[in-house]
Amino acid sequence: MIVLILLPFVAEAVDESYVISSMTRIMIFAMAAVSLDLIVGYGAMVSFGHAAFVGLGAYVAAILSFHINDGSAVFNFPFSFDGSNNLFLILIVAIFVAAIVAALTGLISLRTHGIHFIMITLAFAQMLYYLFISLDTYGGEDGLLMPGRNQVPFIDTADDFTFYYLCLLILVVYIFLSRRLVNSQFGRVIRGCKLNEKRMQSLGFNTYWYRLTAYIIAATGAAVAGVLLANKTEFVDPGLFSWHLSGELLVMVILGGLGSIYGAVIGAFVYLLLEQVLSAYTEHWMFFLGPFLILVVIYARHGIYGVLQNKVLSND
């Protein structure tokens, strides 16, 4: 934490400002990983389409600022909406859109379990992927360039330094909220659904609606990460919806340790840092990361965070 607060100053001092940029990216992915862990780790809903919500958030940011720049309306019915460049408004819209899409897709996909759930979430994400490829107004396959970062009153988001702290703040708040969630009454119900859904039903829980609610909550987190990601790169493309990103998010969560918020954060950091370091040496960095992942899965069932936790416990 302290490292993250001080890092930009160090980077600035040694004139390595790309570090700020790449750490911002990692923090955004950490958020997406935490949101995925809420359903995969705590609720045993292995979604292979989580990137769809990251993509939706990103496109909300890009489309709304595209229209404000372009001067055209996003839609005219039932009321006229000209788009926006206000980050807070965009976050709210993104959360809203992700929640609706998650509710609609979740209503169907949560009727299934296990491998079927994986396939159906993947299918929905691919549908969105092709939908956005076909939207020529918004760049189609080429993606959409943002006119600049969305604005927040009183601070200059265009400055990478400031934007870094904004992302850090949002990540910290998000981790805090997620921890409240998993330790709440609702959180325990979701854990129960993961451990033994049949028993939960026989105890009197209508598990379907609890799982759907969790699914929607996770989607909104991913959408927030998407908005930040679009703002970071100032560019969006349909690749954000693709199963590659969904898969990467799953790898981060599994690497860090399923079912722990900090684990997801650690997983995102380790995965993306390794990617950066290894790709500096070889184009085929996946070749080296793969075995590492296999080792973690075989020898550390609870991921890197689980290993760290055991170390702390055995030191006591």
């Binding site: 609702f186 325990r188 028993r199 026989s202 105890l203 009197g204 609610t213």
Partner: protein
Amino acid sequence: MTEVVLHTENLCKNYAGLAANTNVNLQLIKGEIHALIGPNGAGKSTAIAQLSGELSPSSGSVYFNGAEVTDKPVFDRATMGISRSFQVTSVFDEMTVLENLALAVQAHQGHSYFFWAAINKNRKLNQQACELASQFGLEQHQKLLAGALAHGEKRQLEVAMTLAGNPQVLLLDEPMAGIGPGGSKELTQLLDGLRGRYSILLVEHDMDAVFALADRISVLVYGEIIATGTVDEIRNNEKVQQAYLGHSEN
């Protein structure tokens, strides 16, 4: 006048042409312990699953306090007051004993869409969970993960969870399964202590426990109830001796 809490009318369940239950008419009288016995594969678990709502019958109906509940899903019946335990222990291994019980209590206190307050500091929930734990002699294990309990203790937790929220009907599917003679005596005493407060349908293979506990017994053979009566009536019933008890004594 006896009051019937739960009853079925011509309950049938077929699995791809195989009849697991045929015209089962079962009456659970308020406050009684009613044992449902029968050889392996007689359809006892199928019957319980239809009473609890996990399986829907091929034909026939289930009534709870006179109202039809045939189409009610399992979680609705649970909150109405029909609670069940499982033959295969179904406790939450990765949660503590107290968390297991608190979760069972939570199910009966309205919805659980509370996202903010920490659950482990919920006094009301923890207190009720503690009471259940001490009722079943699990108070010294409260903080233990359920997965770390001995088999007999797990079975007790399994039954304890069904008592959360004061149900009217308990459907106990082989509560004594695999716990040995000592544990089974202990659990028999515990269940005896519940007599009168709940209406209990007990599926059990342990005949000592059945004869010690049951007010009435129904015998299920090949999916059909061939006799219902008091312990003595069932012991002296020729059909039952032939079909079931006779085999085990010879």
